[in-house]
């Protein structure tokens, strides 16, 4: 099986280890992975900030970079939701509409892709982890299971649920800098819930939430380690 990997701009800037780990896991599971060189960003920052024209311009580069029939795999529920949920609206009535719908149809968040194809990651680990439901994964993709299933499949790792898993961590893209105080309050609550499980690590399918929760935890003195799920699966 073949797949194209969307690295995501956030992973490019903040954590290349995340997209590399994603590639490693997919390859170990027998997927032939290509990483299109001409990819940039899915366009979500512009779209959700109310600048659809600018977002479309950036999203067009994604349509071009990920042309073809192979599935597109993204280590982010939020970027996957942008393509699957946002592109149909962003490109409605545009010349690229058909291409956008096609890309939306074959794009999957990383753990969804694993689950859909029953891929075995053969991952091992130790200790305990708690899982954060990122909102776009949970509500826009309607996915509550695939991330947890991937974690449960890691031999030696115990999954512990935290309180209020379905409540937003307060990141919200530009919201985090437009209303930093509200965002910070929610991030702190999330960090405290995660820490209260006593789990060794907080794991999520979205780097953005983790960056925010970890940063807020550190600022408010909550002891918390975080990792992206791909890093856990890559071992």
């Amino acid at each position: 099986m073949r797949a194209m990997l969307m690295r995501t701009c956030l992973s490019d800037v903040m954590a290349p280890s995340v997209w590399r780990a994603t590639r490693t896991v997919l390859e170990r599971a027998g997927v032939e992975v290509s990483v299109p060189r001409r990819q940039t960003c899915c366009g979500q920052p512009g779209w959700s900030s109310g600048h659809p024209d600018q977002a479309r311009r950036v999203a067009r580069t994604a349509l071009a970079a990920f042309a073809g029939d192979d599935p597109v795999v993204v280590p982010s529920g939020s970027c996957a939701a942008m393509v699957r949920h946002g592109y149909p609206e962003l490109f409605a009535g545009q010349p690229e509409e058909e291409a956008a719908l096609a890309m939306a149809g074959r794009t999957r968040e990383f753990t969804q892709f694993l689950a859909e194809h029953g891929l075995d990651t053969g991952a091992r680990g130790s200790g305990s982890a708690t899982y954060h439901d990122s909102c776009h994964m949970l509500r826009l993709l309607g996915e509550r299971e695939s991330g947890r299933a991937a974690l449960r499949a890691v031999e030696g790792v115990e999954l512990r649920e935290m309180e209020a898993t379905d409540v937003c961590c307060g990141f919200g893209g530009t919201f985090s800098v437009n209303f930093p105080e509200v965002s910070g309050r929610l991030g702190e609550e999330k960090a405290r819930h995660a820490a209260a499980t006593g789990a060794d690590e907080l794991i999520a399918c979205d780097l953005s939430c983790l960056m925010h929760i970890a940063g807020r935890a550190r600022r408010t003195g909550v002891p918390l380690r975080v990792r992206h799920i791909a890093e856990v699966l890559a071992g």
Binding site: C9, G172, H212, R218
Partner: protein, 467 residues
């Protein structure tokens, strides 16, 4: 009366972010909101488990989509049937027209005292101000609304207007009003309020209510409530004026029955509301009670402009307040910080639409959301509020947004070019390395400053674990 009445409150002069900061610093508020959100959440979870909520929601969505699709026709039918039942219907294009109709009516009938039951539409048009300006006295008879009227505050929730206050705060307000020392238990405070309000019901010339929905089939006005005060307001005074947003109409009793069922489930997590008042026309000859005159004011106030647009679904709203309780932002800062009668997710969509996109203050609202989508999950009529928020954001025309657009133009120019993208990523990574000390940045310059105002930034990934 001059000019259009703004939807946002006149004291909303400070930017929204400043108002959220004030709200976050209020510990009593945080406790009150936490308690309210938790009790709603528990009731809502219970009721959703006991009922086929998902199917009911799908049906409710279908009903509301259909009603709004046929709105002009349904309104015409409602008007015809209300008139046939002996009521007087008036269409008000805007807040001023609606207020003027009511104050003129009051003057023509020589009224001096107006009793009101809870109504968001009258909050929206700032009817109390208009009535007081015309020299009459108006008293809110919903307990929460009355407390707010006494305290000089705005409602913080569509259904539970004083939910941001606790019992002790309420007691202080009521003691200040009466000059009496009041006991601390809830029952006694409610009993006290009842006594104070009874004289109002007895002597009011006009009763003003809102409308949960009008049933086009029979010209019936439904007013749903939990205290019984709306029953008195609509029945005892000589004249009943009902103020209705033009979208609050349903086709027939089949639809009405379904909405009547799902509304309290969503709003309070109960399968029935305390009181459902069904009003068809004024008192008919031979009837024992009811007002002599019934006036129905149908308010446009910017609504018709949404018909046929990709924002039309905002009109499906049945004002249950569930999206407010479900919203992490609303639960953090409360409704008062929004500065609009409509707070929470639906308020952030509706306020700029009704007020006009040029409103600096109201146009900040759609940005105070992380687009987490819990509002959509909570909404009994399935309005995709997170999508509407994005669409409204795109229409905002404030100076801040124009500046933002200029920034995003630069962004799109760079990031639509793979080479420029790679260059900017490389530069950002160098910047990160320079900013980090042992894997973390505590204070960033420029655009990163707001990030580090609240959090550290991990400059290595996975972040260096805490010591």
């Amino acid at each position: 009366m001059s000019g259009r009445r703004p939807v946002v409150y006149s004291d909303t002069t400070a930017p929204l972010r400043e108002r959220t900061r004030e709200a976050l610093a209020d510990d009593a508020l945080a406790a009150n909101l936490r308690a309210a959100g938790a009790s709603w959440g528990a009731a809502r979870t219970r009721i959703s488990a006991e009922n086929p909520f998902a199917e009911m929601r799908a049906r409710a969505r279908e009903i509301r989509r259909g009603d709004i699709g046929d709105l002009p026709e349904l309104l015409a039918r409602l008007e015809e049937r209300v008139t046939a039942a002996g009521g007087v219907v008036t269409r008000a294009a805007d807040a001023d027209a609606a207020c003027r109709y009511i104050t003129d009516l009051a003057a023509a009938r020589g009224a001096t005292l107006v009793a009101k039951s809870k109504s968001m539409a009258t909050e929206e048009i700032k009817l109390n101000e208009a009535i007081e300006e015309s020299g009459l006295r108006v008293v809110e008879t919903d307990l929460g609304e009355w407390i707010l009227q006494l305290a000089g505050q705005h409602p913080s929730h569509i259904v539970a207007p004083a939910v941001h206050l606790n019992k002790e705060q309420v007691r202080q307000v009521l003691m200040a009003e009466s000059g009496w020392e009041l006991p601390t238990d809830r029952e006694a405070l409610v009993a006290h309020a009842r006594t104070r309000l009874r004289e109002v019901f007895a002597s009011a010339d006009i009763g003003i209510s809102g409308v949960n929905f009008g049933v086009a089939e029979t010209g019936t006005i439904c007013v749903v409530e939990n205290e019984g005060n709306a029953r008195l307001v609509t029945a005892l005074p000589r004249i009943h004026v009902a103020v209705m947003g033009m979208e609050r109409v349903v086709r027939d009793w089949d639809e009405a029955a379904h909405i009547l069922q799902i509304l309290p489930m969503a709003a309070i997590g109960d399968d029935a509301a305390g009181y459902v008042n069904l009003i068809t026309g004024p008192r008919a000859p031979g009837e024992a009670d009811g007002p002599e005159e019934l006036h129905l004011v149908i308010l446009d106030g910017g609504r018709s402009a949404l018909l046929g647009t990709d924002l039309e679904e905002a009109l499906d709203c049945i004002r249950c307040g569930a999206c407010l309780y479900s919203c992490p932002m609303w639960r953090s800062v409360g409704g008062q910080a929004y500065g609009s009668p409509y707070s929470g997710p639906i308020g952030s969509v509706l306020t700029p639409l009704l007020e006009g996109m040029e409103g600096e203050r109201s146009s900040e609202l759609p940005f105070m959301s992380s687009l987490c989508g819990s509002c959509h999950d909570a909404c009994p009529v399935g309005i995709p509020l997170h999508d509407l928020l994005v669409r409204v954001r795109a229409r905002v025309t404030t100076t801040a947004h124009r500046r933002d657009r200029a920034r995003f133009r630069l962004w799109s120019r760079a990031w639509s070019n793979p080479a420029a993208y790679r260059l900017s990523v490389a530069m950002a990574r160098i910047g990160l390395r320079l900013a980090g000390r042992r894997g973390w940045a505590r204070r960033l310059p420029g655009p990163g400053a707001e990030w580090t105002s609240q959090r550290d930034l991990p400059t290595r990934w996975p972040p260096t674990p805490p010591r």
